[in-house]
Amino acid sequence: MTSRPDYRELAQRISDGDAIDWDSIEGQLDGRRSALKLLDSIARVSAPRNPASSARRWGHLEIHEAIGAGSYGTVFRAFDPMLDRDVALKLAHGDKQRARSWVTEARRLSKVNHPNVVTVHGAEVHDGEAGIWFELLEGVTCSEWVDGNGPLQLPEFIAVADALCSALQSVHDAGLIHGDVKPDNVILTADGRPVLVDFGSATELDNANLISGSPGYLAPEVMEGKAPGPSSDLYALGLTLRFLLSGKRPDSGGAQFQPLPGAPAGLVTEIETACSPDASRRQPSAEHLRERLQRFRPRQRRPWMWVLPAAVALAGLAGWFLRPPVTVEGPVSVAVLPFVSAGNTEQDRFFADGVAEEVLNLLAGSDDLRVVARNSSFRFRAESSDTRQIGNALGAEFLVTGKVQRDGGELRVSAQLTEIRSGNRLWSEVFEATPDRIFEIQHNIAASLSRSLGVDEIKILSDRSRNLQAWQLYLEGMELWRRKGEGPVRAAIQLFEQSLEHDPNFAEAWAALGEAWIVLPRYSQVDLDQGIARGAEAARKALELDSSLAQPYLSLAALENRRGSLAEGLALLEQARARGPRHKGVLNTLSFDYGRAGWIRDATIHAELGVIVDPMEGGQYVTLGYLYLVSGEFERARETFLRAWNDLGLKAYFLWQGILAIHLLQGELDQAESWLVHRPGGGEHDYLKSVIAGLRDPAERARAVAELLRAADHNRLPLHELFDYLLLLDEPELAFERVMTGLDRGQYFLPNHIYMPMAKTLRDRPLILELADRLGLADLWRETGRLPDFCEEVRVHYDCAVLLGTAQ
């Protein structure tokens, strides 16, 4: 018969989470032991991750299945309850002395902070068992990858080699050597990161006297008994790189290195140097090897085949903007600067700009290139700025510059491609022809550039050869249109119409005419409906001639929005997006319209892309900042607004207001008060001072509310701002009521404000749907069958789908 455990012992074991075999004492349960069994059951169900679970524990970690094994130990998937995350736990084999030394080194490794070195979370010895726990990497080893897919192609190879050299250098810089670099110890993670793992053989540089590592990758001097060092790590890295490029392991065919056909001879030499048997002949450091390999970096960089499926490429690109990764590659980024005009007339300059713009448009047709929008790149002139500065400002890696000279019947165009990082000129060519062959020259330039950048030859989507005179008139018109204002836009319309007289089939001119008509009412007395109708007519004509253009769809979407058909407008925007996913106008409009619809996540992705494509356009930052604000990402919102305010010098009211909103929402009332003086254009803000006073002291709230209402009644305060401030002062009903009354009176209200953080109290009630209905948004949601993002948050209070009648 099993001895009966006493109460204290059972209580202790329950607290410790030990497994108790209740069946064996079932027959001996008295009232108190039954109570203890109850407590044990409660503990097991309530905290299944705690020690009460049946999983084996090591220290505070809960061990699950084994996921790998080696000479130094076994790797398990484990759970770290303190940090609430899965980790990889490696438990050491071998004697305690060695285990302790291993842990000491691992602790040192934990100080290495590099994206391509596995992150060590901790190392300890428990009951004589040494273990290290580190980030759990989901992916495949380089070994598995090459065995399954063959050697890496050159672009992938260089990227992996670059990451590994950099990783190894960081290990050496920390005073450690890895000791076991090999393809099995490099994980290619699901997000495309090569990560150096398994530091089981790692030792300190000044204490490296053990022979360790994998035989095939051991440097000859280590085999002879010398201490391993950075150079022996480099040797192993060299052999690893050989394997990646050839698919052959060092022990599978002698030392003969047979790389993939097409690998540059110089690259092969560099790798052979790294794995030279004579340590003195190897590169002096991993960093040195990295720099040498950079010379073979192809111009073409594609997303990793194991990284970004095409379907997520858009979101991936947005993520790339926010968190520039070390190895995940996006498309090659290029900026085309306006070409220098050798002539002095305005027409000469328009012509030179037009040549550059056409080249830019042709390059933008390539999926492998990210071409900076004209609006940003044309703010720079090559002759007046440092190329590196320009590249940094535009976020571009390559710069295209050129010069245009017209001399009577002769045309001379020179163009160059420069790599910004190195300053090297990669391609340069001069074209000479008669002016009517300018379109041919533009195509040739774009084709040469695409070849030099290593991307597939650009596709010519439509016959872009056209009447030279029509094109020149169009260029002049575009220049005027960009100046904005009634006079220039009217003049632009005339020039587009003249252009079309010369070439009625000039689709871009029809598209530009459409856009000009749509914006004209902003600057003039022209009736908005009339402007939009004429714009839509021209846009339709443009699409008849060339259905691949994105711009006309934007004009048609504006027409539908004006008619109140938001769903129709969005459908047209989708058409525009299909034709120009990186068209700055498409991104800008989509981010705004999605934001208005409350589809904040999608809006944010498009706004982030908009900032990438057109980094000098302040308006994009305003939209993006508001989307971050709406999402409650205050720091990111602040950073985005301040970038436009400080770096781009955009002192716009919306920016100022966005920053103020962050201060108020974050309770930064002193900063909010100081910020008031920066209000663009000055103006009164007594009511804002009252709002701040009301937020400081609830006793002041009534006065603040009265002041706000007074300001609104005297038209000093737009309806959406009144809405925001009343909500901040905790007056949701009043805010709702005032907006509804204002809308009845025909006052303008920016619909996006219903998604602001201060409107949360209102969104928690179905009342918000009434307001949305009044703003036309409810119809949009019904027609598209898509609810705004906030409906996910408010499900505990009410169901949007049921109330809007969209539930299935």
């Binding site: 108190r32 059951s41 409650g632 505990v796």
Partner: protein, 193 residues
């Protein structure tokens, strides 16, 4: 769970002053803890991510909104408060759904029909009631320690730091004694019943 520089009490105090960033940090800190705990308390059909999350978030939000009247000094006290709030909230939802069988999806999730929670399945509702009653009879410090350890799975070291005990060993002894005392109370209450 215990932030080295920012205690739960600090965060709660900041929340009370209207600091929304502190509220966000508090939410981030306690959501996963409460979510994991709540998993065993919800009826099976409501334990999809959405059902648990809704109620957990609501509980946290409401609890944080009402800290004007109650500022716990310890993380354990705040956990006990959250736990009680969650259980009340769940009871309310169950009552409401029994009155209105056709309601929003959450109410349907929590509807009276269908099997009980994993905890009810494991020990039965009556035993749970007895347990709650006994728990209420422990001193606040013991109650917090037991909840932190048995229900929320905190480590002894964390509990020691929160309760101001000298070491993890001291926390282990205190909890073990409290568990024994709790068993005694359950036994006594059960006998009375």
């Amino acid at each position: 769970m215990l932030h080295p520089t920012e205690s739960t009490a600090d965060l709660l105090m900041l929340c009370r002053e209207g600091n929304k960033a502190a509220r966000d940090r508090l939410m981030r800190r306690f959501l996963p803890i409460l979510r994991r705990w709540a998993h065993g308390r919800l009826p099976h059909h409501a334990r999809s991510g959405a059902g648990t999350d809704d109620l957990v978030q609501l509980t946290l939000l409401k609890s944080i909104q009402h800290i004007d009247t109650f500022v716990p000094e310890r993380e354990g006290a705040f956990l006990a408060y959250l736990r009680a709030s969650f259980l009340n909230q769940m009871r309310d939802e169950l009552r409401r759904s029994s009155r209105r069988p056709q309601g929003n999806p959450l109410e349907e999730h929590l509807g009276p029909a269908g099997p009980g929670s994993p905890l009810q399945d494991a020990v039965g509702q009556e035993a749970l009631d007895v347990y709650e009653e006994a728990l209420a009879q422990l001193t606040p410090l013991d109650r917090e320690a037991v909840l932190m350890r048995l229900e929320f799975g905190y480590q002894y070291g964390e509990i020691a730091a929160d309760l101001g005990l000298s070491s993890a060993g001291a926390a282990r002894m205190r909890i073990s004694r409290a568990v024994a005392r709790l068993a005694k109370l359950i036994d006594a209450n059960d006998l009375k019943a």
